[in-house]
C-alpha cells in the first residue's frame, strides 16, 4: 500500500530536490527503496541517521529528511560506528558507492563486518566511479571500459558480498535496480537483522558506464540486470556445470546470501557487558 499512497515522500527533503543524478541513473531507485524499508521497519525520522561517504551515491543523504551525515571519501562506516556506539538507540544506515566502500574504504568495510556494529550498509554498486566522471572501480568487470581503462580493465573485480560474509557480516544480501520490490525487501531484512548488515544493490550508470560499454540507454542496462540476476533459490538449484556456465556468463545470485545462524552479540550488546565487567571491578 505504501507505494500507492506515496507515503514515502515525507522522508525526502522536498526543497533539496531535484537531485543531481543524471537522467536514467539507478541511485534514485535505491534511495527510494531505503526509505520504503525504513517505513516498513517503523523507524522514524527522529531515530534514524543516514551516513554516506563521497560519490554520486553518497549524495543521497542530502535528500533524505533525517539527521544526515555526508562524510569523507571512504569513511562513512567509521563515522557510523561512532554514532551507533555513542547513541545505540539510533538506527544507523550507511549509503556508499563501490569505490567508496571497496577501494578507499575497503579496510573500514572489512573491519565494520568484523566488529559487527548494528549498522545497515547499502552499497550502490554502479561498477564505476560516477562522481569523478567514469574511472575504473574495484567492481568494474575485467575488460570493462572506463576513462582510466581505455583499453579494457585488467584489474580483477571482487565480490563485495563474499568479502562481507568472510569478514563476519551477520546479514548479506544482493539486489538490483530492476528488482525494486526485492531490493526494498532485502534492505528491510537487513535493517531488521541486528549486527552488521550489508546489502549490495546493483544500479545502472548509463552516463559513465553504459555509454562506454555498449549499453548506452538506461533501459538496456536494466535489461542486463534482469537477464543476469538469478534469484537465490533458483541459483542454489543449479548443478555445478550450470553454475559455472552462469558465472562465465556474468550471471549472479540475488537475495539473502548469508545470515548468521546463531544470533551473535552485536558490538554494542557486547560492549554493555564490558561496561558491566568494568564497573564490577574495583579500581
Amino acid at each position: 500500500m505504501a507505494e500507492l499512497t506515496r507515503s514515502y515522500e515525507k522522508y525526502f527533503r522536498q526543497n533539496r530536490l531535484p537531485h543531481l543524478w543524471c537522467p536514467g541513473c539507478g541511485n534514485g531507485i535505491a534511495m527510494k527503496a531505503i526509505v520504503q524499508a525504513i517505513e516498513k521497519q517503523g523507524w522514524t525520522q527522529d531515530n534514524t541517521v543516514i551516513v554516506s561517504g563521497i560519490g554520486c551515491s553518497s549524495r543521497a543523504s542530502g535528500y533524505m529528511d533525517f539527521d544526515t551525515l555526508h562524510t569523507a571519501h571512504g569513511r562513512a562506516i567509521p563515522f557510523a560506528t561512532g554514532i551507533k556506539l555513542a547513541r545505540p538507540e539510533l538506527n544507523v544506515v550507511v549509503i556508499t558507492g563501490d569505490g567508496d566502500c571497496c577501494a578507499i574504504g575497503g579496510n573500514h568495510f572489512i573491519h565494520g563486518c568484523r566488529r559487527n556494529v548494528d549498522l545497515t550498509v547499502v552499497l550502490f554498486n554502479n561498477a564505476i566511479y560516477g562522481m569523478t566522471g567514469g574511472q575504473a572501480s574495484p567492481m568494474t568487470p575485467l575488460g570493462g571500459k572506463a576513462t582510466t581503462t581505455p583499453y579494457g580493465s585488467v584489474d580483477r573485480p571482487f565480490d563485495p558480498c563474499h568479502l562481507a560474509k568472510a569478514a563476519g557480516a551477520t546479514f548479506v544480501a544482493r539486489s538490483t535496480a530492476f528488482h525494486v520490490q526485492h531490493m526494498t525487501d532485502m534492505i528491510a531484512q537487513g535493517m531488521a537483522s541486528r549486527g552488521f548488515s550489508f546489502i549490495e544493490t546493483q544500479v545502472q550508470c548509463p552516463t559513465s558506464y553504459g555509454r562506454r560499454n555498449k549499453m548506452p540507454s538506461p533501459a538496456e542496462m536494466l535489461k542486463w540486470l534482469q537477464q543476469h540476476a538469478v534469484l537465490k533459490p533458483a541459483w542454489d538449484r543449479l548443478d555445478r556445470e550450470k553454475k559455472k556456465a552462469y558465472i562465465l556468463d556474468h550471471k549472479f545470485p540475488i537475495g539473502v546470501l548469508h545470515q548468521a545462524k546463531r544470533p551473535e552479540l552485536d558490538y554494542d550488546a557486547a560492549y554493555d557487558q564490558v561496561i558491566e565487567r568494568a564497573q564490577g571491578v574495583k579500581a
Partner: protein, 386 residues
C-alpha cells in the same frame, strides 16, 4: 584536597579527559602515545563511556567525529605517523565544525622516524597539516599536572568553538612521572555541549552563527534532521556553490577563533622583569630552558624565559612586546627549527632571534641551552645582530 599521586604525563591526559567529560575515545596504538589509549580503555567503561580500538588512525578519527555528532565529548591520541593519516578528517572537523580533541605525542620523524625518541617536530604539521585555509588551536603542556589541566582546557575549547583542538605533547612530558595533586571534580570548569536556541518551527538553522560566531549545531537524534557535510555549506548546513558563502564561511571559521585569541593564548614568563635576553620555548623543552635560564641568572646574566602553553594560535602580541623589550631571543625547540620562524615573524626585526634546535633523539641538557644563550649574547653585544 586529594592526595598526591605519582603519575605519568600520558596518564594525566587520560584522567584529564575523563574529568572534562570525555565519554568516547577511539584510537589506534602508537608509541609514545599508547598509554593514553590503554588508560582510556580501562577508565571509560567504568564511567559508562566507550573505548573502541579502530583499524587505523583514519577510522579512529571518523569514529570520534561520528560520536561527537551524536552528543559525546570525544578524544583520540596518536603520534606522528598516525597524526599524518588523520589530516583529511581534521579538516573535515574544521569545516563541519565538530568538537574533538586529538592528542599528538610527538616522536622523531619524518616517517616511522625514531618511535621512542623525543621530538617537537610536529609543530608546523599541527598548524598546517590538513589542506586548505583553516585555523587551529594547539596546546603544549610542560608538566604532568599541566597535561591534566591542558586536556580539560582542550576539551572545553573544542566544545566552545566547535573545532578540533590538538594537545601537542612530547615524549618527555608524556613519559614523565611526577607527583601531582589533582583538583576535586567541583573545582573543574566544564564547557557544556552547545544546544540549539530555536526550534525547527522557529526556523532553526544548524550552522547559523551565534554572537560569538560559533553555531549551535544540534546533536543527532534530537529531532532536528540536520545535514552535516565537509562541502562548503551555508547556515542550513547544505552545500552551496556560491562565492559569497564560500568566502564568508572560510572567514568565519578563522574569526570565531582569532577574535578570542587573547583568551586562548596562554603564556608564562619566568625571570623576565628586567631581562635583556629571553629564551622562548614550549612543552618538555621549556623545562630544560627553565633550568638553563635559572643557572644563567645565578651567574648574573639578565635572561628570562617565555613559555608558550598555547602554540596555536601563535602568541604574536606577546612575542612582539617581548621583542620591543629585549636585545635577543633564543628559541629552544627539539627540532630542526620550526617555531623560530614564527618568532622571527612576530618579532618583526625588533631584536635578534636565534635558534637553539636539536634532533638527535635526545632531549636538551641545560648546558646546551646555556651555551647557545652565551653565544647569542656574545653576538649581539659584538653588534652582530642576526
Amino acid at each position: 584536597m586529594r592526595e598526591a599521586r605519582l603519575m605519568q604525563g600520558n596518564e594525566a591526559c587520560a584522567e584529564g579527559a575523563i574529568a572534562a567529560g570525555v565519554d568516547f575515545f577511539a584510537g589506534y596504538p602508537i608509541t609514545p602515545s599508547t598509554e593514553i589509549a590503554e588508560m582510556m580503555a580501562k577508565l571509560l567503561p567504568k564511567q559508562g563511556g566507550k573505548f573502541v580500538q579502530m583499524e587505523d588512525e583514519i577510522a579512529a578519527m571518523g569514529a570520534i567525529l561520528g560520536a561527537s555528532l551524536a552528543g559525546s565529548k570525544v578524544m583520540d591520541a596518536t603520534s606522528g605517523p598516525g597524526f599524518s593519516l588523520k589530516q583529511e578528517l581534521i579538516g573535515y572537523a574544521v569545516c563541519a565544525e565538530i568538537p574533538c580533541v586529538l592528542v599528538d605525542v610527538q616522536r622523531v620523524g619524518p616517517s616511522t622516524g625514531q618511535p621512542t625518541a623525543p621530538s617537537q617536530g610536529d609543530l608546523m604539521q599541527v598548524r598546517w597539516g590538513t589542506h586548505g585555509d583553516h585555523p587551529m588551536i594547539a596546546l603544549s603542556p610542560w608538566s604532568v599536572r599541566e597535561t591534566y589541566d591542558a586536556t580539560i582546557m582542550a576539551v572545553n575549547y573544542a566544545e566552545r568553538f566547535r573545532t578540533p583542538v590538538i594537545l601537542l605533547m612530547d615524549e618527555m612530558v608524556g613519559h614523565l612521572r611526577e607527583n601531582v595533586t589533582l583538583p576535586e571534580p567541583g573545582e573543574i570548569e566544564i564547557y557544556p555541549r552547545r544546544k540549539p536556541k530555536k526550534t525547527r518551527a522557529e526556523g532553526y538553522e544548524p550552522f547559523e552563527p551565534d554572537t560569538d560566531l560559533v553555531p549551535n549545531v544540534a546533536d543527532f537524534g534530537e529531532g532536528y534532521h540536520i545535514h552535516v557535510t565537509g562541502l562548503i555549506h551555508d547556515d542550513t548546513g547544505f552545500p552551496v556553490g556560491s562565492a559569497q558563502v564560500t568566502e564568508s564561511s572560510i572567514r568565519r571559521l578563522h574569526e570565531k577563533i582569532m577574535r578570542a585569541s587573547d583568551e586562548i593564548v596562554h603564556t608564562e614568563s619566568y625571570f623576565m622583569e628586567d631581562a635583556e635576553y629571553a629564551v622562548v620555548s614550549f612543552g618538555g623543552t621549556a623545562r630544560t630552558a627553565y633550568e638553563a635560564v635559572k643557572n644563567m641568572r645565578e651567574q648574573g646574566l639578565s635572561v628570562g624565559l617565555l613559555r608558550l602553553l598555547t602554540v596555536w594560535p601563535f602568541a604574536d602580541k606577546v612575542i612582539a612586546e617581548l621583542a620591543e623589550k629585549v636585545k635577543g631571543i633564543l628559541v629552544a625547540e627539539l627540532n630542526y627549527g620550526q617555531m623560530v620562524h614564527e618568532v622571527r615573524r612576530a618579532a618583526g626585526g625588533k631584536c635578534a632571534v636565534e635558534l637553539c634546535g636539536k634532533y638527535n633523539m635526545k632531549s636538551f641538557e641545560p648546558v646546551e641551552i646555556e651555551a647557545e644563550i652565551e653565544k647569542m649574547v656574545g653576538d649581539v653585544e659584538k653588534g652582530g645582530r642576526a
